[in-house]
């Protein structure tokens, strides 16, 4: 099986997996599975899916490094865009159904309730990421694209905090998601440190002998 076919299959799997929660919500509305408080249920499902897709997006690069299979990068954009899609649905359910588009209530909540401030900020920060996800924008922004898209580290953290602060007492799942997030960030740290070391060695070759990795270079 060629890499191209494998990537195709993976993309189909991502689409099916990512659309399943939406299908469940729509079916639930017609089949009356959403329970006594359907708006709350919709907020919960869309929010949870946003967080899970964000974490899946963050897992792509570490998986790429671990497996050494670079074509994996091709599922990162669909995953990221699905995260934005569900964040948009989550915001839409809140604004349209929970707050019934009453702007004064919404402004009040965003300003005064920290968990909503944080959630709204996270959603807003995802917008430039979604808009610049195309090949055109990657080309146009060049190096700056990578810098901009580091915002996903911030939005994922804001998402977890938003969830943690919305829960009454049972913080087990938010804590679990937070732990996974920290793990996905921790995996990246050695890579960042190595990049910094290499950059320093490139910019200041004479200092290479002074770095902790000096032993790797012939010191003569």
């Amino acid at each position: 099986m060629s890499d191209r076919t494998k990537v195709r299959i993976l993309k189909v799997a991502v689409w099916l997996g990512a659309l399943a929660p939406l299908a469940w919500c729509v079916a639930g509305y017609f089949q009356d599975w959403l329970g006594a408080n359907p708006i709350e249920k919709l907020e919960h499902v869309t929010g949870m899916t946003t967080l899970l897709t964000l974490l899946a997006t963050l897992a792509v690069t570490p998986l790429r490094r671990l497996t050494g299979w670079n074509p994996l990068i091709n599922v990162r954009r669909p995953l990221g865009l699905f995260a934005f899609f569900y964040a948009f649905l989550h915001f839409g359910v809140w604004a349209g159904l929970d707050q019934t588009l009453v702007w004064s209530w919404m402004k009040d909540d965003i300003a005064k309730r920290p968990y909503i401030t944080v959630g709204f900020t996270g959603f807003v920060l995802l917008i430039p990421l979604a808009l610049t996800s195309t090949k055109g924008w990657i080309r146009r922004l060049g190096k700056k694209w990578t810098t901009l898209h580091r915002l996903i580290y911030v939005t994922a953290a804001l998402g977890v905090i938003h969830y943690y602060w919305s829960v009454k007492a049972d913080v087990r799942i938010p804590v679990l998601l937070g732990t996974i997030y920290l793990g996905l960030m921790a995996i990246r740290v050695p890579g960042w440190l190595e990049k910094r070391r290499r950059k320093k060695a490139r910019d200041y070759p004479s200092t290479a002998a002074l770095s902790p990795a000096a032993g790797r270079f012939p010191s003569r």
């Binding site: 408080n37 708006i39 929970d98 309730r113 968990y115 087990r172």
Partner: protein, 317 residues
């Protein structure tokens, strides 16, 4: 509130002569049936869901005193906060199948002239049950209109004769982790405790509750005995009560103990005092789309506001 006495016994409920005269055999067969049913997987024993045939007809067009329709039996029995059975709204109806609300003992303790321990049937015998339609407002900002069945706590208090040292009433839920899976986690400190000031306990609205929609409470709603204090947030309505103590000091209620800056002892419904993390100005009445404004004391202000005259309700939340 609307108080209704159940009407005269309809003929459909009169025991047929053949059953009455053979009642000992009938009871033996029924007991054997119950024993067999106890072996049935717990999931089947859980009550919940729509039971339209069994809901007595008097509830058909019943409304609250403000003209609000009742929430459905299904909603009331499938959307519950009862962490003893799990922390999701659907957990109590799903996970309370193993819980046995009979046999049940209630003990009356503390500063009373007539303490005692009673089997539930004995305990309930002196009281006449009433239908009471009350709004239930959860601290999470949702609410329902529920036709409870019970008797005023004041009647119980008068019977047990509290002494002058009794300033508060303290209630305790059963501790039974073998039948209540949530009690095996430590999301809250078990057993659940709640309390009322003596005048709140004596108030005519305060209800010792044994049923809803004219039928016994299902497990997920606090079988077999719970408290309902309609002008306070729902967490004051302690469920599956085994102990009622008359004490001198203000009881440390479980939610206040868990997060003292978020949940107080008084917990009076108050749109002007927000929860630290969310607003209490509005609520979602289950079944309605647009949120409705929360009423001071949940709409019972004309009957209870006098209890709190001169109290800073932002301080004593």
């Amino acid at each position: 509130m609307i108080i209704r006495r159940p009407p005269d016994i309809p003929s459909s409920e009169i025991t047929p002569g053949s059953v009455y005269f053979n009642r000992r055999a009938f009871i033996k067969t029924a007991a054997a049936g119950v024993a067999a049913a106890a072996l049935v997987p717990s999931g089947l024993a859980a009550l919940g869901g729509d039971r339209p045939q069994q809901i007595p007809p008097r509830f058909k067009n019943m409304k609250s005193e403000l003209g609000e329709p009742l929430n459905s039996y299904k909603d009331i029995t499938t959307y519950n906060n009862f962490y003893e059975f799990g922390t999701s709204k659907g957990d109590p109806s799903r996970n309370s199948g193993d819980f046995h609300p009979r046999p049940w003992t209630v003990s009356i303790e503390g500063h009373v002239d007539k303490p005692g321990e009673y089997h539930l049937e004995e305990f309930l015998k002196p009281y006449k049950m009433e239908d009471r339609v009350y709004r239930l407002r959860c601290v999470e900002a949702w609410s329902m209109v529920i036709p409870w069945r019970g008797f005023p706590l004041a009647d119980l208090i008068k019977r047990v004769e509290p002494t002058g040292d009794a300033k508060f009433v303290r209630f305790t839920t059963v501790y039974r982790p073998s039948e209540m899976p949530g009690q095996r986690t430590n999301v809250l400190d078990w057993p659940y405790v709640e309390g009322l000031r003596m005048d709140e306990a004596m108030h005519p609205l305060t209800l010792m509750t044994t049923g809803l929609y004219g039928m016994d409470l299902p497990n997920q709603d606090g079988a077999p005995l719970r408290l309902i204090v309609p002008w306070k947030y729902g967490f004051k309505g302690i469920k599956s009560i085994v102990k009622i103590e008359f004490v001198e000091k203000m009881p440390l209620n479980t939610w206040h103990q868990t997060a003292s800056n978020e949940y107080g002892f008084y917990a009076n419904v108050n749109p002007h005092v927000d929860h630290p993390r969310w607003s209490q100005a509005r609520e979602r009445r289950l079944g309605e789309l647009r949120k409705r404004p929360t009423l001071m004391f949940n709409g019972y202000g004309d009957q209870v506001a006098h209890l709190y005259q001169g109290m800073d309700l932002a301080k004593w939340f």
